[in-house]
Each structure stands twice: as C-alpha cells, then as structure tokens.
C-alpha cells in the first residue's frame, strides 16, 4: 500500500504532565468554529449564504427602481434568505456530531457535554453576527455601485435596524441549534424546524380559537416587525419573547437535557 509507511515502533512512552488544565470555553468555541468550515458541506453552506446576499443586491441593482437603490433597501431584503439558511447551519453543527459519530471523540475529550454545547451555541451565534456584517458590507458595495451607475445611492440608515438584524439572525441560528439538540438527527431536525412553525402558522389562520395565541406564538408573525424600518414597540418585543421562549428556549433546555444524558456510541 502506498499510503502507509513502516511505522517506527516503540517511540511512545507515558509522560508525566505538569498541572493539566481544562480547555477554556474560548478554546472550545474556536474549535467549534473550525468544525463549521473544515468540511465541504459546512464550507459550502457558508459560501452559499454569502453568495445569496450578493445575489439579492445584484438583482436589485438590475431590476429595482433607481430611487429605491439605497443602502437600507439593499440591506434589509438580504436578511430574509440568510435567516432561512442559518438555522440549517445551527442544526448541522449539533447533529453532524451524531450522524458522523464524532461525538465519541468530542465527548471523550470534553466529558462535560454542557461546555461543548455552550461552545457550539457561541460558535453559531458568532457566525450569525458575521452574516450581519457580510450583509452590511455587501449592501455598502451595492450602494457604491448604485451611485456610480445612476441609482439613488443614499446612505441613510436607521441604527435600530442593525439591532433588529442581529436579533433576527442570532435567534434563527439558535432556533435551528435548539431543534438539532432536541432531535439529534439532521433530517428530522431540518424538517421539524421548517414544518412545525409553519404548520402552527397555518393552523393559527384556519382555526379561529387559535388565532389569539397564534399572535403570540407564530414566530413568522412575531418577528415580522423586525424587518420593517418602523420602531419595534414594547408589545411587539413581548410577543417576540413569548414566541422565542416556546420555539427556542424550551427546545434548547429540553435538548440540552437530552444531550447530557444520551449514550454516546
């Protein structure tokens, strides 16, 4: 065989270590970030998210009214497709450990599983923040191009929208991760994540008695105000919090419980 060489036998000896310290949460987070990009699937998911952002701005440069070619109008529409793909990243970061069975290595090296889960959540949340920065950067390029080719190219920006964007992307990636933690299976988690809130939305529309609760529990409704440039009211934040409690915090808690107890094999 050409891929293995004759190994040098007998070069291993157990060594005494000076005070071994446990890996910091920062170290674990960096390791998890690395896992997001060191496989083809992960790398392409991130590239797709970036390309999608660029594609939307390009489409607007071609088809939007010149007066509408503003920084704001480039930035906001790019958030939606990204917020659909980010949860998949969140799901994969959790479930691939089980589908690829790397959990065996991961949890043998870090037996405090809650620390691994915390590092994973931090890593995907950081990725979500990075996606907002990408949206900003692409929108800026779009604005520059627009002003060069005769579009409005105005830079007016409402800073509260930046907060909205961060909330949208971070919560969507965490919701995905929560479903991943709870179901621990890639297809199940993706289908569950896409289907359950939608199903709930449809039911909320069809069944009259559900319409009231649906105002508080349907994330597509409660998150809607974040996409508009009007200020989000206290009541709207409240509804959002309730819906996120149900679709993000509860699955996270139940998923963490399940992950801590699950047998790794």
């Amino acid at each position: 065989m050409t891929t293995t060489t004759t190994p040098t036998a007998g070069a291993v000896a157990p060594r005494q270590h000076t005070a071994v310290r446990r890996p910091s949460l920062l170290r674990l987070t960096v390791a998890e970030l690395r896992k997001l990009v060191d496989t083809r699937a992960g790398r392409w998911l991130l590239i797709t998210i970036g390309l999608l952002t660029a594609a939307i701005v390009t489409l607007q440069l071609i088809y939007a009214e010149e007066a509408d070619q503003t920084f704001l109008n480039f930035f906001v529409p790019s958030l939606l497709p990204v917020s659909v793909l980010l949860p998949v990243l969140g799901i994969l970061s959790i479930t691939s450990e089980w589908s690829q069975r790397t959990a065996l290595t991961t949890y043998a090296l870090v037996p405090r599983r809650e620390r691994v889960v915390a590092a994973k959540l931090l890593a995907v949340a950081l990725t979500a923040l990075a996606s907002v920065l990408t949206s900003l950067a692409v929108a800026a390029v779009g604005t520059l191009v627009a002003s060069a080719i005769g579009g409005a190219g105005t830079w007016q920006f409402d800073w509260s929208l930046l907060l909205n964007a961060v909330v949208i992307q971070v919560t969507s990636v965490l919701m995905g991760a929560a479903f991943g933690l709870l179901l621990l299976n890639t297809p199940l988690a993706i289908v569950g994540y896409l289907l359950l809130p939608t199903l709930w939305g449809v039911l909320g529309e069809m069944v009259k008695p559900l319409r009231g609760p649906s105002e508080w529990l349907d994330t597509s409704k409660t998150m809607e105000p974040l996409f508009s440039s009007d200020a989000v009211t206290g009541g709207q934040w409240g509804r959002m919090a309730v819906s996120l409690l149900v679709w993000m915090v509860l699955p996270l808690a139940a998923g963490l419980f399940r992950t801590l107890r699950r047998e790794v094999s």
Binding site: T4, A9, V12, A13, R22, D38, Q100, R101, T102, S265
Partner: protein, 298 residues
Amino acid sequence: MITVENLTKRYGPHPAVDDVSFQCEPGTVTGFLGPNGAGKSTTMRMICGLTAPTAGRATVSGHPYRELPNPGREVGVLLDASAQHAGRTGREALTLSAYTMGLDRREVAAKLDLVGLNAVAAKRRVRAYSLGMRQRLGLAQALLGDPRVLILDEPANGLDPEGIFWMRGLLRDFADRGGTVLLSSHLLREVEAVADRLVVIGGGRIVAQGDKNELLAGGGTVVRARDDAALRRALELAGLSAADSSEGLLVQADAEAVGQAAADAGVALAELRPAAGGGLEQLFLTLTAGESTKEAVR
C-alpha cells in the same frame, strides 16, 4: 491505573453489563476478552463517561472520567475507528483534537508519523480510508496527548498482520515504560501475545480474570492415541474427565497424570502436551459458551 467497581448497565430488564469489577495496573497490558455482545464495549464506554452506568463506578488515575480536567492528556481512547467525520482529512481530525487539548501542532505530524500514515494519507479525507488506516488514525488520536492510560476497543480490527505485529510492539513498549493499557478483543491470539492479565467477560458478567500465565496453566492437557476408545477407558479408569477437541482429547489434568494413566492401561500415545497453544481458546470457549447459550435461550 483503571479501577472498575461493580459496574452494571441495564437496558430495560436486560443487563448488558452485570456487576463487573477489575483493575488495570500501571506497567501492564490487560486483555479484555469476550465474544461479540458480551458487554466489552459498554463497559469501556462506561469507563470513559460516555454511557451512564446503572450502578457501580469506574475511575481512571483515581478520578471518575468526567472529572478529569483534560482527559485527553491522561487517557488515550479509541472506541470505534469508524467514528470519524468522513469529510475531514486525517490531519484535520487530529488537528482539531490537538487544539482542544491545547497541544503543540507538531504533535499531529509526530503522531501521524508514529502510526505510519504518511503525508499523502494525512491529506486524504477519512471517507477514502481503509479500516486499517482508520485504526491507525484512531490510534494516533489516542496517543496524541501523550497519555498514561490507553483504552482501546478492538484496535487490531482491519489491521494487516504486519500492522498487528507493530501494534503489539507499541503497546508492549508503552506498558513497559509504566503505562496502563486496557485492550479489548475477540481475537484471542492477539491478546494472548501481548497481555499480562486477562479479564474474560461473557453475557455481561466476568467469567474469569487474573494473570495470563495462571489462567493458561488451567488449560489442561491434549492427548491423542491411535486407539481412541482404549485411551478413553484408561482415562476413565484413572478418574480423569476428557472432552473432545479438534486436536485430540482435552483432559483437565497435567501431562504427568495423563501419561501415567495411559501407561497403566498399556495405551500407546501419539501425542501428549499441555494445551498451551489453544489453551486460551479452550478457556475462552468453555468459559463463554454456557453464557452465550443462556443468552440465546433467554
């Protein structure tokens, strides 16, 4: 040092591991033997904190595994060579582990070299690895943090004879320098060649454990005569029980007693020797056969 005390794991009413206790001392290789489904892997997973025991406890270097601050520096674990991300390269898999443990990156190249995965192999994705290469990668992973304890589940699986020979030397050397090795296998010869101590498990229970030589000494004597029936009568007369084996009659007595019995009856022997070569196999079969039959009936 690995200490296992009364470990038990039940799945529903069925005990996969039932009150298992043993100890692995520094400087020794302990062979953990048993047929498939005997509870070897479950026991090893419980030692490594990956499966919660129903009862009992296990410690590594005096601590429960989950309380080791940086386990990779203390214990090298290889439980399943195919549990690697198929899309990562061999080098990347090790780099991730080295980073998590806080090791110098040079360790990755050093360990890849040690297990005989060259630069070409290291750059390939694990998907393209043969089982033997995955075992080597898993071994490199286990050795990465220069641990004092090794826990290896069927590490010889998929290795070619030369690889098995090499691994044997590596483990022997590791133990001779003060390391502790727990090595499971259903390949009896493999364990016989390298282990100092044996722990034999069947149906979730320990059926024998102790020094390898002591256990082997109880293997009995193989005896063969041209007149098989006369030999049987002679043995019966001397009060020795004989069992059929592939090589002849297996007698639970030493060679001297068997030879004397044959001489007394005037039976000419064709062969008389301690059942050393196949002793462990015989031991293994006799010790586990009953258990697995019970399992099948249950």
